[in-house]
Amino acid sequence: MILRRILLAALLTAALPRVARAQETLPSEIVLGFNPAENAQTLQRSADELARDLSDRIHIPVRATVTLDYTTLVESMRSGHVHFGWLTPSPLVLAERLFGVRVLLTQVRRGQPTYYSALVVREDSRFHSLEDLQGGSIAWIDPTSTSGYVIPRYLLLQRGFNPSTFFTRQVFAGQHDAAVIAVQRGQVDAAAVWADPPSERTGAWTRYLANRPGPRLRPLMYSPPVPSDAIATTETFAREHPLLVRSVSSSLVAIGQSEEGRAILRRLNSTDGFVPSDIRQYDLVRQAFRATRDEQSRARSGRFEDPRSMRIFGLLLLGAALLGAGALSRRPRAQRWSAFGLFALALVWAAVAARIPMADFIKGWRDIGQFLRGMFPPDWRVVAEVMEATVLTVRLALVGTVAGIPLALLLGLLSAENVTPSGLIRRASRFACNLNRSIDLLIIGLILVSAYGPGAFPGVGALAIHTVGSLGKQFYETLETMDPGPVEAMRSLGATRLQVLRWGIWPQFTPHFVSQALFRFELNVRGAVVLGLVGAQGIGFLLQTYMRGAEYGKVTVVIAAVVILVMALDAVSSRLRRNTA
């Protein structure tokens, strides 16, 4: 391996122009990052194939990684875990804003390095111009989608329409297929999706509805051509490894020109090949990104609810609360019933305002059925990976719990009336516990993940912080139920305060301490699983990855592992607790 790298370096230096023959140390491995497209199920496999092909050409190990979402890919590039990213235009612009990127190539599809965004409506609808849509509803894809959000919003703004007021309702469909289906069903009036060149009048609406009976959709408005996905690296990496970057770049172009390379690329979002490119090609997206970012804060408040229905709902709830308070103070029955009525009304209003149609509910059940069918047979090939993640999760929970215990114990002791005589200290300490407890584990996790990036630390940190508050409260509540007899005996023996704590309280508390800490550990394991969903490491992360990739057979293995883990823990910890009691 080392020999091969030396050989390669020699080859590279020999092959490349003299000027560039400066010292360039090569990374031991190159990582290509992909973000999940709609055919994510096969994405990893195709990405691996591409990585292998590239590796054969540049003689350096190449690994392909499919990240959770665009944001993770951008963050992974920033942190240097991913060297080359396959980025859709908006994340590319985001990355440019965050740390500076070097665009190497632009993807070619249908012979063009561009594609389009379109607003689509139902064939049979009354909408024939953009103006007709005023007061209607729209499905966007998600806030980082170029054709499904950034570009079409920019076009609206350019035509003098503020999307937040132009539409009465906006939703994020998440995927292009979900967006066009929502239009077909009449749940929204329009959707913003990707499109082929306007002359062809095809796009997401023809692709995803091809096999679905029901009304057809038609494009209402097209965008100018939008540059396709980019292959980019960070400015820093490009500066440090100019030869390598050039070599990767030319190899990727060459792959697009070879027969088998083209076959691999086809499976990667219907790519034909790559053309050399730079960031200027993405000016339209940069402008659009800037414009939509600026109006986003205003748009956010009106995304799901119109203010009027919010206000009515609020008034109803307030009225019910006031009457309810009255009811508690033994008011006449009529008032109690009207409070109940108002509350029921508010509930109905909430359901209506949230637009929860029954048909979707039933459709959802059918989808769950499909999901369940997809889960079998389980994909046992991932067992090793899942077990590794399971062990990691347990380790996170263990470290988090143990790290939280000392402070939890201190707060517990400072909060307990029979330990701490000062009422002021007790109140302060209890306040600290309750404040800590009032912030949910997941929220702590989210904050830490955004601060430290995905990985092990946010998980451990969130669990430790959460442990302090919840265990601290449990500790002081238990401490206060301790038998005062031994305490009095120790005082009569001439023990000082700390000695009383040691001999009068601690021996009584020990079994409770052990059992509560064990139980907290058990809860923290479950917490660690869920924390994986917000980007902390472990089995939850794996679950999320498989879910996003629609790899339900692997999901089955994860779920099985979680179930076994939780049951095993329950058995072990209940036995241990019985023994200490």
Partner: protein
């Protein structure tokens, strides 16, 4: 000769206004066994607890030996409390610890603070603890956890603990209330023997007059926090008993 226990006008008013002790003065010479009689709530427990300052008296003074317990503060208070060995009705032992460990903690006031905190007992402490357990007849149970002992055995561990403290005075608050009569006699005679052999005054709250008559040198009676009887055990008349257990006169008539 100075009295081994001397109480001067001890008074205790609880935060809710209840008068627990009302101007009680008492002198007990070394080696005397005093039984304290009274209805429940008459102030028997409060008397012993105020005397050793497990409960803070409102006013008055308490001396154990030549030390004024009521004048002590901080670490000195802890030392002062240690002068009185205390036996409780509910034993108040560390249930998960062995007999020996329970008796060893009595040595806490004879050791430095840190030694007492971490339980680093000296060989002498061990020797004393073993001897005291032997004295109450529990040598065989030294390493048995207290929780697996019977009630009578547990109270004997508690008595051994009080002995190991090497107290200047012995207080026992209803030590026999949780025991059957035979065991009660055993515990009382142990306390009496210890007091008379070492010249330590013993003050015991009892609820059976028969026990008081049999073991005590002197019987005092409390009613509504007041000392209403004080005399040799042999002279306790039925009228005196009636007076002690009569409803306090100062009490308002009960609702009907």
């Amino acid at each position: 000769m100075t009295a081994a226990v001397r109480l001067e006008s001890l008074r205790k008013v609880f935060p809710d206004g209840t008068v627990g002790l009302d101007d009680v003065s008492l002198e007990v010479p070394a080696g005397q066994f005093v039984a304290i009689l009274g209805r429940s709530g008459a102030g028997k427990s409060t008397l012993l607890r105020c005397a050793s300052r497990l409960v803070e008296p409102t006013s008055g003074r308490s001396f154990i030996g030549d030390l004024e317990v009521t004048g002590a503060r901080g670490r000195g208070l802890a030392r002062a409390r240690a002068r009185a060995g205390f036996v409780f009705q509910q034993f108040n032992l560390i249930r998960s610890y062995t007999c020996l460990e329970n008796v060893l903690v009595a040595r806490i006031s004879h050791n430095g603070w840190l030694r007492g905190l971490i339980g680093l007992w000296t060989p002498r402490d061990h020797e004393i603890a073993r001897r005291c357990l032997d004295e109450v007849g529990l040598s065989a149970k030294i390493d048995t956890p207290v929780r697996s002992l019977s009630g009578g055995q547990q109270q004997r561990v508690a008595v051994a603990r009080a002995f190991a403290q090497e107290p200047t005075a012995l207080f026992a608050d209803e030590p026999t209330a949780s025991l059957d009569p035979n065991l009660a006699s055993t515990v009382l005679s142990m306390l009496k023997d210890y007091g008379s052999s070492r010249g330590v005054p013993v003050l015991v709250n009892v609820h059976t007059i028969e026990h008081a008559r049999r073991y005590a040198d002197r019987i005092i009676g409390l009613s509504a926090g007041r000392l209403v009887h004080d005399g040799p055990a042999s002279e306790l008349s039925d009228e005196a008993v009636e007076a002690i257990y009569a409803a306090p006169q100062s009490r308002p008539p009960e609702d009907h």
